[in-house]
Symmetry: C2
Subunit: 260 residues, 2 copies
């Protein structure tokens, strides 16, 4: 189970304030905490729409990787920003993400290929499709395009796009998100990695239940074979859950003292 810290995103006020003010110390401190809490990779987002990322992303990414000594996941829709940031990355990052909405697909693929980066491919085309078939069709198309650009499956992370459980057809989505993980593990050869942004399931839920829903869903998708999860690394409950999943998979030696 690869743990990607979702924490450095636009909803994190302290972080965004620090990004705005180029407050290196705060970004360093936030990054170190994420490493201490057990992140394997840190996702770095500086805006939702990518505007201005060409200035902020390389700067922030550099501070984060220095402080945390971890690889990065670059969360931007701005290829100019990605290009600049890829040149400062000490090890090939994960690029978050390519969907069927991008107008610059070829450019993204060429960057990923050139820098030997990994790539999240998302089941997304305008909206998140409601059926398993539609999700798989998008992902298959993106795998094909990535392969054609010389990006092997081992560097691809397929994301079935988790939506929140509360809203209307949310549960139908969760059902086929789970099925999508299983189908990808069964059907794609050579094997592809699967990834999910776990916290999305509890968007809009009362604070008191978020952690429980996220933890249960992380275990549930892991049972289906999930390889990587974007989670709130500062949530102790989630990190205990990650510990348990790694124990169930016999990846670490379990001790009850570690989750007390």
């Amino acid at each position: 189970m690869i743990v990607i810290a979702e924490n450095l995103n636009v909803r994190n006020k302290a972080y965004m304030e620090a990004v705005k003010n180029q407050d290196k110390k705060t970004i360093e401190s936030l990054s170190k905490t994420l490493a201490d809490k057990g992140a394997d990779i840190i996702n770095v987002q500086c805006s939702l729409d990518g505007i201005g990322d060409e200035e902020t992303l390389p700067l922030v990414a550099d501070i984060v990787q220095e402080a945390a000594k971890l690889p990065l996941c670059l969360d931007s829709r701005n290829t100019e920003a990605l290009k600049k940031t890829l040149t400062v990355c000490k090890e090939p990052p994960l690029i978050n993400y390519l969907s069927q909405d991008e107008e610059n697909t070829d450019e993204i693929l060429s960057l990923v290929s050139r820098f030997k980066a990994s790539l999240i491919i998302r089941a997304l085309k305008g909206t998140v499709p409601t059926t398993l078939e539609a999700k798989l069709l998008i992902l298959e198309d993106l795998i094909e395009k990535a392969n054609a650009a010389d990006i092997p499956n081992e560097r691809l992370f397929a994301d079935p796009s988790v939506v929140h459980i509360g809203g209307g057809i949310g549960q139908e989505h969760l059902l086929n998100t789970h099925e999508c993980i299983i189908a990808l593990n069964e059907m794609v050869d050579p094997p592809i990695n699967t990834i999910a942004w776990i916290s999305n399931i509890s968007t809009g839920m009362p604070k008191g239940v978020k952690s429980r829903i996220n933890s249960a869903f992380l275990c549930y998708l892991s049972g289906a074979g999930l390889d990587a999860a974007m989670v709130d690394v500062n949530d102790a409950e989630i990190m205990k859950t990650v510990y348990l999943i790694r124990s169930f998979r016999d990846e670490i030696v379990f001790s009850s003292a570690d989750i007390l």
Copy 2:
């Protein structure tokens, strides 16, 4: 997800005292609580070795089914007791269990067949085998024998035998328990049900972590396709987890208020 209450077992002192004293009121009250807490089926055990079950099991089973208005899971190694109890069961129960250790396999199978009961078949032969292959070999043999006795797969519940996470090769066991659920779902046709005694994973663990380990493991196996779980129905944490699994599977309509 079928929830089987494990609670009426020999480790439950209040219950065993009531069994000993034929204290109908206490058994009724314990049973009603299990129904209220959300059990679908109640497991009834009166001894570990089956001695005396021919007296106690039919009596207790009758009290439990009357009070809880639920089907039963008869947990006894005593075929005489099973036979007597099957005649008082209002609906065909689940028989817990048949392994490769029984000397009276034919008798058990014939009872299950005659009373149209369901049957838990356990990956067990002396001890719990350490490899996936050994577990599957035992289960395949038991499926074959059950089918030959006219018990269709839809009335079989295969149990990979959960062992505790703490002890020596415990984690290797958990790994192949998970793989066993997946393999059974993929390989057996017509489909068989899968079942796990969840609490076994946390045997010997400190009280403060049992619930967390059990809940995580239940979600994890459910993600792999587990159909039924033997759990502590009085553990609110576990029942919230069951609620979430049913929500993820779109079997019920989710409301955050239900798990607050």
